[in-house]
């Protein structure tokens, strides 16, 4: 945890209220999200007990399994859930837009919007990933046939669970993580995992949060006391009162999740949130196409090549997400300033028309001097960028210690137009406050991976199964 977030936690403890740790919203919040609260039967391997689902806050829909150990009822539940979720997921596969690829030489299409499914916490994601695993291979014919919607639900859930691992993706967010990204409470991260408690810290304060701890859990695990005293007799007697009890249990979480959505909508979106949502729409469009063309379920385990490629995509996404959040949000950037990976300063000298003519062609290379009072942990030769001018690179020529801090001499390139005279405003002028960082949004090319058939023996050799 960064020192700034730790400090915010300390401040939240003192104030008795959650403190902001972001000045902008770092994730896309859909206008028509699908909220899904799964509830599991204790002890069983992925036995659903109930789910509260819907796209409208005032219209929660409860799905209940009255005998969770009965496998037929389990798949009936899956079919019912599919009846709610799959039409929502498919409803965005309509209008498309053209996206230029390969520097405008070609064009591809993606859907103008994508679905967004909210669950309360990461336990919910894990539960639905397993539900996807248990349903996506089911056969619609043979000995134990299931309705065709069941394996389709499994594929969609697996797709969503996969996207939940992708840093910065907003297709399958959890309320707890979304709130923790923007607010720090005066309790530990472990305690923040209780949605009711976390929300109470933000909405009303420390005392209400302690009260909320004793309130209903947000699933998917139920409270053992509830299991032993309430649920056991209801299930044993096949009591018709079961749906009412589960409805009352889930309703506070349902209401809390919609309030959390409103809280998040109240924050202004970060400048790069929309571009990450574009990536989500790409992923959604590609998966819709996959289902339309081939529709094969995701494998149980990735092969060596696919796993390596996926790992690299995840790493790139994590790095890009961290940089984008810092560029969008001065409060996140402050963490990098504290660590010495960024510094703020004032331009004291500027030579905007400097031309370097030592090479074959003269090139525009303005120089500026930035005076800072912050710690500078960069050396001559390093390349910096400024969030205000992301297309411009600033090469460090020298760093000189002064009485109040450091003078950093920088040589600029890029983002100034094509002429030998810089476009107005593209070179920082004397007196301008500037933030410079070693973080870079530059494109990272993917590594080359072999074809699955050429998997080296170090990684198990070519896969034997098709």
């Amino acid at each position: 945890m960064s020192t700034l977030v730790a400090l915010a936690r300390a401040q939240a403890f003192e104030a008795g209220r959650a403190q902001p740790i972001a000045t902008v919203r770092h994730l896309h919040v859909h206008d028509r999200p699908f909220v899904l609260i799964p509830l599991a039967m204790a002890g069983e391997a992925n036995a659903p007990l109930a789910a509260m689902v819907g796209t409208v806050a005032s219209e929660p829909r409860l799905l209940v399994v009255s005998q969770p150990r009965n496998r037929d009822e389990r798949f009936a539940f899956a079919a019912e859930l599919a009846g709610q979720l799959v039409p929502y997921l498919e409803s965005f596969a309509g209008e498309t837009e053209a996206v230029p690829v390969d520097r405008g030489r070609d064009v591809r299409y993606r859907f103008v919007d994508a679905p967004q499914v909210w669950v309360p916490n990461s336990g919910g994601v894990d539960f639905l990933r397993l539900l996807g695993r248990s349903t996506r291979f089911r056969r619609v014919d043979g000995d134990y046939p299931v309705p065709p919607s069941v394996p389709l639900l499994g594929r969609w859930l697996t797709f969503l669970a996969g996207s939940a691992e992708m840093p910065g993706s907003a297709l399958f967010p959890t309320t707890v993580q979304a709130l923790m990204l923007h607010w720090a409470t005066g309790q530990s991260g472990a305690e923040d995992n209780h949605l009711g408690s976390l929300l109470a810290w933000i909405e009303s304060g420390a005392e209400a949060a302690r009260e909320a701890e004793r309130g209903p859990v947000a699933g998917p695990a139920t409270d053992p006391d509830f299991d032993n005293h309430v649920l056991t007799p209801l299930i044993a007697d096949a009591d018709p009162g079961l749906p009412k009890v589960l409805h009352d249990l889930l309703l506070p979480t349902w209401a809390g999740m919609w309030r959390a959505l409103d809280l998040l909508r109240g924050l202004p979106p970060g400048a790069r949130v929309a571009s990450r949502w574009d990536g989500d729409r790409d992923a959604y469009s590609a998966y819709v196409q996959h289902l339309a063309e081939d529709g094969a379920p995701q494998p149980r385990r990735d092969g060596a090549v696919a796993a390596a490629a996926r790992l690299q995509r995840l790493e790139n996404a994590a790095a890009r997400y961290a940089v984008q959040r810092a560029f969008d949000d001065p409060l996140v950037m402050a963490e990098y300033r504290l660590a010495g990976a960024a510094f703020g300063g004032v331009v004291t000298l500027a030579a905007p028309d400097r031309v370097d003519d030592t090479g074959k062609r003269p090139v525009l290379r303005p120089r500026i001097m930035v005076a800072t009072t912050e710690t500078v942990r960069v050396e001559a030769g390093a390349t910096l960028t400024s969030p205000a001018r992301p297309a411009q690179k600033a090469k460090v020529i020298s760093v000189t210690a002064t009485a109040t801090g450091y003078d950093v001499l920088l040589e600029l390139s890029g983002g100034m137009g094509r002429k030998l005279v810089a476009e107005p405003g593209s070179v920082p002028s004397v007196g301008e406050t500037l933030l410079l960082t070693t973080l870079s949004e530059a494109y990272r090319p993917g590594a080359a991976f072999p074809e699955p058939a050429d998997t080296p023996w170090t990684h198990g050799g070519p896969p034997t199964e098709p």
Binding site: M1, S2, T3, L4, V5, A6, L7, A8, R9, A10, Q11, F13, E14, P20, T23, M41, A42, G43, E44, A45, N46, L130, R133, S134, G186, Q187, S188, G189, A190, E191, T222, D223, P224, D225, D227, N228, L231, T232, R300, R301, P330, L331, M333, A334, R337, L338
Partner: protein, 342 residues
């Protein structure tokens, strides 16, 4: 009546099991837990007596499934268990159910059976282990498989292994518990007769079909040994207590809290999921940076108190010499945070 019995008072002692011994390794710096466990104090009752009850029940559904899975494996003279372990035709000896008055006899029978080195599945053996200078009986819910003079611990758990993967928290706690049994068996029979590889029998995927996997618990064994050797100092710690310290549940809550305050706890948020006293300790630790998480304390430069950290960040107090570095960091952090939020 020894010192430990006096600490506990009139109530019968809670016996150790693998779970309580495993929990000792979770937060080894906590003297409070070590003392209460050594004295066999009923921590659930103590916590609710002083008004800080925790929530450590186990769901009846989870118990039922665990029992059903075990019963299925042991049905027909352990037919299914034999086939999943692939042990062929060997004897099966059940040493009997949990009961206080047969402890000595069961331990003798366990010792005899294990020493005889015949190939067999041995259920419910009663073992002993030296914990904090005390010899405690262990009621392992396990089967020891003996073959050619070597013993292997077989642990039956009801969490599912899906596509070769299981919940990591469940697996690691199972591994630590199995390591406790290995340690106790080695204490009885000697180092080289008990394998450091234990067999975990779990349901595969979404069925009740069992699958056996082998876990290497050498790492857990060395951790346990280190913790247990540390615990031997508990006896000397207890003898240093003033005579007023007692956890007799018949005493008033305020007296009990007074006694508790004389035994140092090391609270961390992780305690909430494993220790019965955690709700009280959390209340007690309120205002400490560690109560916000170990990483928070480290990020605040190791400052112990939230109020001190904030005062240093504001520049309201002059830092002590050993706080100078932390104070500079905190002031810089506070300045950056204020600038970004303005």
């Amino acid at each position: 009546m020894n010192q430990l019995d006096r600490l506990r008072g009139s109530t019968p002692a809670k016996r150790h099991n693998a779970r309580t011994i495993a929990a000792l390794t979770g937060n080894p710096g906590c003297s409070r837990r070590a003392v209460l466990d050594a004295a066999g104090v009923d921590k659930v009752a103590l916590a609710s007596r002083i008004g800080f009850p925790g929530n450590f029940g186990q769901s009846r559904f989870a118990l039922a499934r665990g029992n059903a899975f075990e019963a299925m494996l042991k049905a027909d003279d352990c037919a299914l268990l034999r086939s999943v372990l692939d042990v062929g035709v060997v004897g099966y000896h059940d040493l009997g159910a949990d009961s206080d008055d047969t402890l000595g006899a069961r331990h003798e029978r366990t010792r005899g059976l294990l020493a005889s080195a015949t190939s067999a599945l041995i259920d419910h053996p009663l073992l002993t282990l030296e914990v904090g200078g005390q010899t405690v009986f262990l009621e392992p819910d396990l089967i020891a498989f003996q073959s050619e003079g070597r013993l292997r611990v077989v642990e039956i758990k009801s969490f599912a292994i899906v596509d070769g993967q299981a919940d990591s928290a469940a697996v690691s706690s199972a591994a630590v518990q199995a390591a406790v049994y290995v340690l106790a068996l080695r204490a009885l029979l000697g180092e080289d007769r008990v394998s450091h590889e234990v067999v975990l029998v779990c349901p595969a995927n979404f069925s009740l079909q069992p699958v056996a996997v082998v876990l290497d618990v050498r790492k857990q064994l060395s951790t346990l040994r280190r913790q247990l050797s540390r615990l031997s100092s508990v006896s000397s710690l207890i003898s240093s207590f003033p005579p007023s310290v007692s956890f007799d549940l018949a005493l008033s809550p305020s007296t009990l809290i007074e006694s508790l305050s004389l035994v140092d706890a090391r609270y961390a948020p992780e305690c909430l999921s494993s220790c019965e006293m955690s709700v009280y300790c959390r209340e007690e630790a309120s205002g400490a940076t560690a109560a916000l998480g170990r990483s928070v304390r480290e990020s605040l430069g190791g400052i112990e108190e939230v109020s001190v950290a904030l005062d240093l960040a504001r520049g309201a107090v002059a830092p002590a010499p050993d706080q100078a570095e932390a104070a500079a960091l905190l002031r810089q952090a506070a300045r950056l945070r204020a600038e970004a939020l303005s």
